[in-house]
Symmetry: C2
Subunit: 187 residues, 2 copies
């Protein structure tokens, strides 16, 4: 069976064995425990992560100390603070592990090298970025348009396993509703 | 003075005269009057537009007939329904002109050809897509976190000219607030 990252990339672009070995050579593997951070607010983010196993969240703490969840991440998802990573500015968000997690990461430098040298990988990430943009576009539409109940139902339908793996208060924070509202929706 | 599209692309990747001529050969130019549509809900979108001159909006009409604005577009911006364009599904949104507008467009077929043949253009659009994603990420954070007043101030600070060119009720629809709330903010 081929490497899970290879399977993932080959959903969009086909690779030879040599190409995949070259790509994989640009990544490092790490493990993090539940509650450990990949990115802390204020970091200048140098890495993009791909989740082999585990569950993570990227989130923002507002001035009142309230957490707002931007994104969850599970197996086969990419996660980083794209603003900090792309612009090399200080991160406004944090990324931490909801479960013990195994990840691959690529540094900005290696990612630039890889996309410059391999048009296929530029193409792969360009497509991934498009899909990320589409998901965010739908999230904006949903925040503007849908009731809390509708947002809850949509999330449950798209990512049923999130509801098994993530505490209710985090689901509430992702949906932008209070925990009390979520309890009502959930009953 | 070089073509405005060339200036725009060269903010991210440098081009030779031959390369730009080749790129421009993949585009067509059109004019649209105020209130005319580029995309209507239900269309399968085959084109991505670049705005030479004018002002447009992409928006969604909910079941109650209420309009929610996803994006405005002005000079030098790209606009389309990316979900429909990338996935070739029916568009959930419409794009229409707030002012008489001049546009360049590229078809999906020509865009695929151009990005396959020219790594530089793959790179250009990959970066553009990243920036689009970052803007949407900030919009989600803002919708989750900021008050109507803060969202209004942020928009005014980022795009002061929007407030000259776009009716107040559209600004309200973009911010996800009622027109009455906007009038209070605005006074």
């Amino acid at each position: 069976m081929s490497h899970p990252l290879r399977q993932h990339i080959e959903e969009l672009v086909k690779l030879t064995d040599e190409e995949f070995a070259f790509i994989l050579g640009h990544f490092e593997q790490i493990k993090k425990r539940k509650h450990q951070y990949l990115v802390q607010e204020g970091d200048v983010v140098k890495k993009e992560f791909w989740i082999i196993k585990g569950c993570l969240k990227s989130s923002f703490i507002d001035n009142d100390g309230k957490e707002h969840i931007l994104q969850f991440g599970m197996e086969n998802w990419w996660i980083t603070d794209y603003e900090s990573f792309v612009k090399q500015t200080k991160s406004k968000i944090s990324i931490d592990c909801i479960e013990d997690s195994e990840l691959l990461y690529i540094t900005l430098e290696n990612r630039d090298k890889l996309t410059s040298e391999m048009h296929k990988m530029e193409r792969f990430w360009a497509r991934k970025s498009k899909f990320g943009r589409i998901a965010l576009q739908n999230r904006v539409l949903s925040l503007l348009q849908n009731s809390a109940k509708e947002r809850y139902d949509l999330l449950l339908q798209q990512y049923p396993q999130l509801f098994q793996r993530v505490p209710k208060k985090m689901i509430a924070s992702y949906l932008g509703v209070s925990r009390e509202t979520l309890s009502r929706l959930n009953s």
